[in-house]
């Protein structure tokens, strides 16, 4: 009986898997397919729910408004649990569907996007890494298919230093800054940039790693208490952030001297920390709240029409929700850019989408037009600059919501971009990639 059951189970599983893999996608002619390797469970599930909720809501919104110049958007989700192997499996499962008319792929996971950089380049599918991922892909001559859009960790670190400099009358000389980071690819990316900034600005940088997942930080905060730094820059993710805030409160370190990265500055980080989070600052490349006309319109149109993706509507307008919307806005804008060149109202193929991403030019005027003023910075990409902006705002948690402190701050491009190019050149050498000549791209 059991054996029969087992055989049956195996047979059905094989059959279903075959079926799922080879089933031809039921795409009509003018549809753009987004593969969405999302995560809604696991240690970072709460963050994924908000981000992908926003992402999908904007796609629904676009569809309800008549699509991308008439081209309807379709999508399919696959749960990655923020796990690299699962992410690769999802990518492989959905890529055949995306071959014809893909949307940019957003994994919102540095590890998964690392694993996909080579694969997507081989399969010729555009990979977007907005504010995460392989940052040396800013150099589009080596990475034609990967787009670390808007801004990168390095530029963000540089912008935070600039913000601190401005607070200290233009100089950080002799100051001590602790860099508290998630000990993973994500946390280590900005180290080189911070070291360069420290040499330039003559401040002392103390690096303190926190092991994944970061729910135990006693020794790190003991060290911080001994070091007595002027500022703590925190590169945390998920549960690590609230733990750090509570630990800071416990050792009596002032929260308004702590500045988080954009992945350490959402409601998911501050609300669980309670009053320990008050005064804490973070960088962000998109603002929170429903004050942005686009977010209010999404709430009215999509949720009013019963098509909303979030089961928990309180996440609407949070930092990560708005970031998901921003990511979708950029993807849709890239498709519009491509359509403007290759034919309006047509579904774009992978190469055309790639061109669109590489020639984005989202001005303030355009942002105002779609109601996204202030939601994200203006973005202008090119072959040699897949980042396109490098600007962040600083925000502070007032105990109940994030308050924006500054206008857009741009990192030190002259200092940071050569680091990317050096890294990309090393990558090209290791992998035997011949870089494109960007001056010949149009």
């Amino acid at each position: 009986m059991i054996k029969k059951f087992k055989q049956l189970a195996i047979a059905t599983s094989v059959a279903a898997a075959c079926f799922g893999a080879v089933l031809p996608s039921a795409q009509a002619a003018e549809e753009q397919f987004f593969m969405i390797p999302s995560y809604r469970v696991g240690p970072y599930g709460a963050n994924g729910q908000a981000f992908y909720g926003g992402f999908i809501d904007y796609l629904s919104y676009v569809n309800m408004k008549g699509g991308i110049d008439g081209v309807q958007v379709t999508w399919e989700e696959c749960e990655t649990e923020y796990n690299n192997a699962k992410g690769v499996e999802c990518y492989e499962r959905m890529k055949s569907k995306a071959q014809k008319a893909p949307g940019p792929i957003h994994t919102m996971a540095t590890g998964i996007s690392y694993a996909l950089v080579d694969k997507s380049a081989a399969d010729k599918l555009p990979l977007a890494m907005m504010g995460y991922g392989l940052t040396s892909a800013v150099d589009g001559s080596v990475f034609p298919w990967a787009f670390p859009l808007v801004t990168t960790y390095q530029m963000q670190a540089s912008a935070i230093i600039k913000f601190l400099k401005d607070k200290n009358n233009g100089s950080l000389e002799g100051k001590k800054i602790v860099f508290l980071y998630h000990d993973s690819a994500y946390g280590k990316e900005p180290i080189l940039a911070l070291e360069a900034e420290a040499r330039l600005g003559k401040f002392e940088l103390v690096q303190i790693p926190v092991a994944h997942p970061g729910n135990e930080q006693g020794s790190q905060w003991l060290r911080i208490r001994q070091e007595k730094p002027d500022y703590v820059i925190m590169w945390g993710w998920g549960v690590m952030n609230q733990t750090a805030l509570k630990a800071a409160q416990k050792v009596g370190y002032p929260r308004d001297k702590m500045i988080g990265s954009w992945w350490a500055g959402s409601e998911e980080d501050t609300v669980p920390a309670g009053d320990a989070a008050k005064g804490y600052m973070s960088a962000t490349w998109n603002v929170a709240g429903k004050g942005v006309p686009l977010i209010a319109d999404i709430e009215k149109t999509v949720y009013g029409g019963g098509k909303g993706n979030l089961s928990d509507k309180s996440k609407l307008g949070t930092v990560l929700y708005n970031r998901g919307v921003s990511a979708a806005v950029l993807s849709v804008e890239a498709l519009l850019t491509a359509q403007a060149k290759y034919g309006k109202g047509k579904a774009m193929n992978a190469e055309q989408v790639r061109w669109g991403l590489e020639n984005l030019n989202i001005t303030e005027a355009r942002l105002r037009q779609i109601g996204a003023t202030g939601l994200l910075p203006d973005v202008k990409t090119s072959c040699s600059n897949h980042e396109g902006s490098g600007k962040v705002k600083m925000q502070q948690w007032d105990g109940s919501k994030w308050v924006v402190l500054t206008d857009w701050i741009e990192g030190n491009k002259q200092l940071i971009h050569p680091l990317f190019q050096a890294d990309a050149a090393k990558y090209a050498k290791e992998k035997g990639v011949t870089p494109r000549d960007c001056s010949k791209e149009k």
């Binding site: 054996k3 690769v88 890529k95 540095t110 694993a115 694969k119 993973s184």
Partner: protein
């Protein structure tokens, strides 16, 4: 009826001692290999190679490694993922730092490096046993991952600690299609599995089993405990190391130390528990079960909820998937505590008698 060995007379010791003494088994395994080497590459698609077959083979190899240590030699270990990490990083370093290094040699050296590390962390096994040893191997898990993050040299000074592996090339042939990578992994796994099967039938394997069943008695009959246990650690880590190297080079293409977390060690341990402790076949069945079932549920559940018109969001589906997966593991463990390999054995017994139950 189908599986009866009546009429198969063995006239020499060699015939009696071959790996598969029953003709049906021999034909079966040859058929299986023929299908794996000839039919599968011709019919399977990229998704099957990249997302199912290659990881299945790699994890089978890792489970095989752990099965040698835990299933045959009786030493519980929670460090398999760490030994995989050693293999992955060692292969990467050999490949990147030595000009013109053949990739297969890198894999072997990676295995040997992992074996060395395995011996080091196997030393406590001489004094402690059972769950206490598991805790000691846990140290390997944390130490190695820490070490790989701590020393930038090991990741060739990559700013993020993530290594991105070079192309796999043998004698000028680049393994860049999923199909060719599958064949490479399959060949390596087939050779190593054959080796393991023979090893556990040899003096070494019998010594391991003697130590597993009662180490004092084993010592009394003249088995040197230290050598036997450390050899088990070395061989097991070698298998895990090669699996790790393949994981990096033929599957993901880029790995970070965090990827080889305790979770992965547990996953490999579950593979051998579900598949069958102390069974070569069990390693493969367990890897298939643990890897493929979640993927199957992932594909089947949304389709099912669509079909039945249930209002499940993707988050709910993910949660249900975890619950169903856990429940199925419990179901199998209760129904057959000796794992899937035992089910297969019972099946063979039944087939032998079928259709006459007496």
């Amino acid at each position: 009826m189908i599986y009866r060995e009546t009429g198969q007379f063995k006239t020499s010791y060699a015939a009696d001692q071959q790996i598969f003494p029953i003709r049906q088994d021999r034909i079966g395994i040859l058929l299986l290999l023929a299908v794996a080497f000839l039919v599968v590459p011709a019919v399977a698609g990229n998704y099957w190679f990249n997302a199912i077959l290659i990881p299945f083979l790699i994890f089978s190899l890792a489970a095989l490694g752990l099965n040698i240590l835990t299933g045959y030699a009786g030493q519980l270990s929670l460090g398999s993922a760490a030994f995989m990490a050693v293999g992955a990083y060692a292969a990467y370093n050999f490949q990147v730092r030595i000009e013109g290094m053949p990739i297969l040699l890198s894999f072997i050296l990676a295995g040997l490096t992992a074996a060395g590390v395995g011996i080091l962390f196997g030393l406590p096994s001489l004094r402690i046993k059972g769950f206490y040893l598991a805790v000691a191997t846990l140290a390997a898990q944390f130490f190695i991952v820490w070490c790989l993050t701590k020393f930038p040299y090991l990741s060739n000074n990559s700013s993020s600690g993530v290594i991105s592996v070079p192309n796999v090339e043998i004698l000028g042939f680049t393994f860049d299609t999923p199909q060719s990578r599958y064949l490479l992994v399959l060949s390596i796994v087939a050779v190593l599995a054959l080796l393991a099967k023979n090893m556990v039938r040899s003096t070494t394997g019998r010594a391991w089993m003697a130590v597993r069943d009662m180490d004092v008695a084993a010592e009394v009959i003249g088995i040197r405990l230290m050598r036997t246990k450390l050899l088990a650690f070395a061989v097991s880590s070698f298998y895990c190391g090669v699996a790790g190297a393949l994981y990096a080079f033929c599957y993901l293409g880029s790995v970070e130390p965090d990827g080889f977390s305790l979770d992965l060690s547990f996953k490999i341990l579950f593979m051998i528990i579900v598949g069958g402790v102390g069974s070569i076949l069990g390693s493969f069945l367990g890897a298939a079960f643990i890897l493929l079932l979640p993927i199957f549920l992932d594909i089947a559940l949304p389709a099912l909820s669509d079909l039945l018109g249930l209002p499940f969001g993707s988050a709910t589906v993910s949660h249900i998937q975890l619950m169903v997966f856990g429940a199925l593991i419990m179901f199998f463990l209760i129904v057959e505590p000796h794992g899937l390999a035992r089910l297969w054995q019972i099946g063979k017994e039944k087939l032998r008698l079928w259709p006459f139950p007496h």
